[in-house]
Symmetry: C2
Subunit: 318 residues, 2 copies
């Protein structure tokens, strides 16, 4: 029986093998994704992001428990887009989720970046499709930090939780630049700390300034303690309220369409690069081109523009 | 007089304008880079990277002072590839370098990522060319953290200093995966701390395991205190010894050739993408493609592969 068929029947070993294919860019990966694609589109995808140390994994752990209580199967993709320095932390965070390790209704997988075109966001999108086709009801995509790549990864989610903690200090100001836009719900973790109210006020201030008109949720800033579980039930409830809101407004469908468009862009870019490299004899000619640059006989943009124009002329003149 | 001519004459306002052109992908940027390219290739490019809080900016500051004492003009490009969360820290770090702000022989510029194709490494490469053509003897490229993008940015340097501090703990293990490879010299900052010897031993152990055969420098691990200046003269001396070593061995020339090859790859990818998007009427057809995916009538890889094959056939049949 085919790998695709096994995935669709929810076979855990097939799912794990597919994840490895995605990470390693296996030559049959594209066909596999195409085969399972008709069975995708049923899962809800949650993105959880925030700075290192915000307690994202503990929060994820708590949310998994809530989902399991309501009988939903949960897949978790933990994405570490970049920093080799956080290797130790990831391992520790993952271990915290091991209470679900023996639960057949929970699948946890870490994915690292390999620097391919399409990158980690593309791989995450394919991994989400595998879990979706395999019948997981909720797929949680969790990132390690918050950077450009993490923002791209969050583009794979239907709803994004931005997790913050007291003590970020002035850095809340930096949030204004790009990160606040991707959050649907803002979770202040470690809310039992004295300075938790301050960060809540700051987040609400930033939200109020920029999103007063189109703020979909009445109460998008939630105080929790992931460690003790305080506020998690409320958060879980708000999350579903928000999902219902964006489902009925059409925002959810639009997000999913935008995501498909983004995927097409990524695929096209990768295909096109491979293709024209082939037609330009890129690798064979590269040494002589470098020699022309190194000796300053040609300039980089001029050289490449010239070669590509010639290629097109050649292709169209045939 | 042209912008390129002003840059080559070292005009600071022209340099600053060129940097803005690079950041904003100004339409005349490519022509500008091509015009100054014949005047490039004289500067030595240092890369300084390491985890946040390692003291990279303070170290850079100290090295600038040494370079200025020896009469060299120094350009600094501070690259923040991603994290909006470190916004506050960057500002603080930059301010520390302000003692050089009134020195005409020092030019400091921060560059943020804009997510273009070629990305921050491509922009950094172009910024290096501007400072090189403008007559800066030493160009220091400093990154904020250490991730995949920072590793790419370090590909623009002739020599890379990896800055570490005591207290990284188990995370030194994570260094094995990718980051150690990019370092030429390993600088242990805050060497006056009790646990500094431990990290030095760990780095040397990792180096010894992986690089015993081709370790170019006799003493690649240096202990400094960027704050007090302790060990900086030795580091500065080692840096020049290492540069002489790789210059006479041919490694430096090979690195510069590899860098030019990488730039050609990046330019080719960007050009080709723009071109085929045009020929595919990508933007006009995108909505109908998304509709086919959303209704599961087509699959993403199959759809895109089919369209690109048709395009090539179309172009070659004409």
């Amino acid at each position: 029986m085919s790998l695709a068929r096994n995935i669709i029947q929810g076979d855990i070993r097939a799912i794990a093998r597919a994840m490895t294919w995605i990470e390693n860019e296996h030559e049959a990966k594209e066909q596999l994704i195409d085969e399972i694609f008709p069975d995708c589109g049923r899962a809800t995808v949650w993105g959880i992001t925030g700075p290192p140390g915000a307690g994202k994994s503990t929060l994820t752990d708590q949310l998994i428990t809530r989902e399991r209580r309501q009988g939903r199967k949960v897949g978790i993709i933990a994405v570490d887009p970049s920093s080799p320095f956080s290797g130790g932390a990831i391992l520790g965070d993952r271990l915290r989720m091991q209470q679900h390790a023996t639960d057949d209704g929970v699948f946890i997988r870490s994915m690292a970046s390999r620097g391919h075109l399409g990158g980690v966001a593309g791989s995450t999108g394919d991994a989400v499709k595998v879990l979706d086709a395999a019948g997981f009801d909720t797929i949680i995509v969790e990132t390690i930090g918050v950077g450009q790549t993490e923002i791209e990864v969050m583009g794979m989610a239907d709803i994004v939780l931005l997790v913050l903690v007291p003590g970020l200090g002035d850095e809340i100001q930096a949030l204004k630049a790009g990160v606040m836009e991707i959050g649907d719900l803002f979770v202040i973790n470690k809310a039992d700390r004295d300075d938790a109210g301050k960060i809540k006020a700051e987040v609400e201030y930033v939200l109020g300034l920029k999103y007063a008109e189109n703020m979909a949720a009445k109460n998008p800033v939630l105080m929790v303690s992931a460690l003790t579980g305080q506020g998690i039930d409320d958060l879980h409830h708000s999350l579903y309220s928000y999902l219902n809101l964006i489902r009925s407004s059409g925002t959810l469908e639009q997000r999913r369409r935008d995501r498909l468009a983004g995927e097409l862009r990524t695929i096209a870019a990768a295909k096109i690069e491979a293709l024209v490299h082939y037609h330009l004899d890129f690798e064979d000619r590269l040494d002589s081109w470098v020699e022309m640059l190194y000796s300053r006989k040609e300039s980089p943009y001029g050289l490449m523009n010239g070669r590509i124009e010639s290629l097109i002329k050649e292709l169209t003149d045939k």
